[in-house]
C-alpha cells in the first residue's frame, strides 16, 4: 500500500461496486461494473461521453437506483440508503452553489442539514474550509460575485465541510479555460492530500486523469475497459480501446512470426519482422495481433545507425508539423503510417519526402488482443 493510503485510511472510505447495472429503456448505461477502491485513493473514471461514467457516479451518489448490483461503503451496502443520508460530498460541473446564500452560508449548508453543531463550532469549521481552499476573505460574498475558479473552490469547501469519507466530482473543471483548469488540478490534488478523503473523479480528459489520479478506471460502452495506475494504463494497455484512448499511439496489424521463450517477433505490414515485448497475451505463431508503439518511443535518424539488439526500419517522411517543443512526423512504412514524435533539435533538419530510419527498444512494442469485448473492433482505425 502506498504512503497516501496508509495515512488516509482514517479519513477516506473504502468503496466497492459489485456488478452495478443500470439501463434506460433499451439502452444499457452501466453494464455489470465491479470496482474496488481503496480508502483515501484519488480515482478517476475516464471515458468518452456515453461510456457510463456519469451514470456510475450518479448511482454512487444515489440519484439513480441500480437495476441490479450493489454499492458498499466501508463494507456496508448503501444501495438502499437515500442520497441525503449517504454522507457523501459532491462537486458538479456547473458549481451548483445556492445563489441566494452567501459563500459562508453555502459552505455551512451540509452542517445545517446533517449535524447539530453549535453556531460557533460551525463557524469555525466553515473558516477552516475556506482557509483550506484559500478563500478565507470571501465568506460574505455571493456566488455571482465570484469567478468560475473561485466558485468551484467554494463548491469543494461545501462538499468537504462535514468531513465526508467519499467525495464525488463530476467533471468539475469542464467549464474552465485551459490555464485555470491546470491551476485547479494542482489545487484539487493539494486539497486531497490535506484531507485524505476518497475521491471519485469523472472526466473525459485523459491528461487530467493521468496527472491527478492514483488509479484510473477507463470506461467504454457501459463497461470497465481497464483499471490501473496511470503508468500501467499508458505503458501497458490491456486492449485496443485503452491504447488508442490514452495518448497518441501507433497501432499496427501484424502476424505473430516467431515465439520462443522470452522472444517474440511479429511481421508487420511491409513484411519486416520486429521484436516485441512478451506481455501477458497468449501468442500463437501465425495468429493475427495488433502491436502498439508510442510515437515518443521512436527514434529517427537520417542514416542507418543500427546497433545490435535494436530493430530498424526504413520509411519516408510524408508530413511534418511543428509543436513548439517537439516535431510530429508522419512516416510511411509500406502500407502503414507511423506517427513519430521527436524533440525540436532532432526534427529541425527533416523535410518531407526524406528517407529516414526508425528505431526503438523492443520492450516498447506491446502486443494487444486483436479484438475483445471492451474494444470497439468495428469502428477503430488502425493506423
Amino acid at each position: 500500500m502506498t504512503e497516501f493510503a496508509a495515512a488516509a485510511m482514517a479519513s477516506g472510505a473504502q468503496l466497492r461496486l459489485r456488478q452495478l447495472t443500470k439501463a434506460f429503456g433499451a439502452s444499457q448505461a452501466v453494464d455489470r461494473i465491479s470496482l474496488d477502491v481503496p480508502a483515501g485513493a484519488f480515482v478517476s473514471l475516464l471515458g468518452p461521453s456515453g461510456s457510463g461514467k456519469t451514470t456510475t457516479l450518479n448511482l454512487i451518489a444515489g440519484f439513480l437506483t441500480p437495476d441490479a448490483g450493489d454499492i458498499l461503503l466501508d463494507e456496508r451496502s448503501i444501495a438502499d440508503v437515500p442520497p441525503h443520508k449517504r454522507n457523501i460530498g459532491m462537486v458538479f460541473q456547473s458549481y451548483s452553489l445556492f445563489p441566494h446564500m452567501t459563500v459562508a452560508e453555502n459552505v455551512g449548508f451540509p452542517l445545517r442539514m446533517r449535524t447539530r453543531l453549535s453556531r460557533q463550532a460551525a463557524r469555525q469549521r466553515i473558516d477552516e474550509m475556506l482557509a483550506l481552499v484559500q478563500l478565507g476573505h470571501l465568506g460574505t460574498r455571493y456566488p455571482r460575485q465570484l469567478s468560475g475558479g473561485q466558485q468551484q473552490r467554494v463548491a469543494m469547501a461545501r462538499a468537504l465541510v462535514s468531513h465526508p469519507r467519499l467525495l464525488l466530482m463530476d467533471e468539475p473543471l469542464g467549464a474552465l479555460d485551459k490555464k485555470l483548469r491546470e491551476q485547479m488540478q494542482v489545487e484539487i490534488k493539494r486539497i486531497h492530500r490535506s484531507v485524505g478523503t476518497t475521491v471519485i473523479y469523472v472526466t473525459h480528459d485523459q491528461t487530467e486523469a493521468l496527472t491527478m489520479s492514483d488509479l484510473v478506471v477507463v470506461m467504454h460502452q457501459a463497461r470497465v475497459s481497464q483499471v490501473g495506475t496511470p503508468r500501467v494504463l499508458y505503458e501497458a494497455p490491456a486492449n485496443l480501446f485503452v491504447a488508442d484512448f490514452l495518448g497518441d499511439s501507433n497501432l499496427l496489424t501484424a502476424t505473430i512470426a516467431h515465439v520462443s521463450g522470452d522472444e517474440l517477433a511479429v511481421e508487420i505490414g511491409n513484411g519486416e519482422k520486429i521484436r516485441a515485448a512478451r506481455g501477458t497475451s497468449a501468442a500463437a505463431q501465425g495468429s493475427r495481433t495488433v502491436v502498439l508503439i508510442r510515437p515518443e518511443d521512436i527514434s529517427l535518424t537520417a542514416t542507418d545507425e543500427r546497433t545490435a539488439g535494436q530493430d530498424v526500419v526504413a520509411g519516408t517522411i510524408k508530413d511534418i508539423s511543428y509543436h513548439g517543443d517537439t516535431f510530429k512526423l508522419d512516416v510511411a512504412l509500406g502500407a502503414d503510417m507511423l506517427k513519430v514524435k521527436v524533440p525540436r533539435e532532432r526534427g529541425a533538419g527533416m523535410e518531407r519526402g526524406q528517407k529516414v530510419f526508425l528505431t526503438w527498444n523492443s520492450s516498447v512494442v506491446r502486443l494487444l488482443p486483436a479484438a475483445d469485448r471492451t474494444s470497439d473492433a468495428s469502428g477503430e482505425d488502425e493506423r
Binding site: P82, S94, F109, R158
Partner: protein, 264 residues
Amino acid sequence: MSATAGRLGLSAAVLAVLIYLIFPVIVVVAISFSSGNFLVFPPPGFSLRWYESIAGDPEWVNALWVTLKVGSLSALIAVLLGVPAAFALVRHVIPAKALLSALILCALVTPPIVTALSTYLFFVPLGLVNTVVGLACAHAVSGMPFVVINTSASLRSADINLERAAVIHGAHPLWAVLRITLPIISPGIVIGAIFAFVHSAHELLVATFVLGGVGKPVAVKIWSGVQATSDPTIAAASAILIGLAIFTFASAAATQSLAKRRTA
C-alpha cells in the same frame, strides 16, 4: 429583390398587422371613457360615468366579485394539481408520456360549446349547477394546461444539479424541491396561474350553462349586455377586466424581476 426593400416591406407588413391587432383594443378602452351615450368611435368626450355606473350597480359589482372568486379558485386548483404533474412529466420516466400530456392539453382544443354542454349535463345530477365551486372546478380543467406548460418550461431550464447539490449534502428531497427548486421555477408557475385566471375570467359558454343565472360572472353579463344594451357600460366592464389582467401580470412581472435581482 434587394435586401433593404425586402426589409422595408416586412416592416410595413408587420406594422399593418400589429395595428390590425391592437386597434380594436384601443377602441374599446377609448369608448369606456366616452362622455356620449352611444357606442361610437372616436368618442365625443372624456368621462368616467360608465365606470361610476358599474361601481354603483350591485349586479355588476356582484358579477365582478364572482369572476374574481371563480378565477382565483380555478387557478389555485390548477396550480395544486398542475405543478406536481409538471414535475412528473419533466423529471421522471413514465410510460406513454406523450399520451398523458396530450390528455392534459385536450381541454384546450375541445370546442367550448361541447365542454359547456357536457359539463352541464354532468353537473345537474351532482347539484353543482349554480355554484361558484362548480364553475371553478370546470374552469380548473382548462386552466391546468397553462400551468403544466409554463411550469414544465421553467423546470426544463432550471439546473437540476442545484437540487441535487442540496440533497447530496444532507437535505431531504422534499425540502430541496420546496426550498431550492420551487423558488427558481416560481415565475413559470405564476405565469401559468395568471393565464389560468385570465382564461377563466374570459370564459363564456361553460359559465353560461353552469352559472348563468343569478350569480353570473362578468363574461356572461357582458354577453347579455352586448345583445341588449347599446351604451358604453359594456366597454367599461371590459376595460375593467383588461385592467385586472394587466395589473395581475404587471405585479407578477415585478415580483419576478425582484426575485431575479436577488439571485442572478
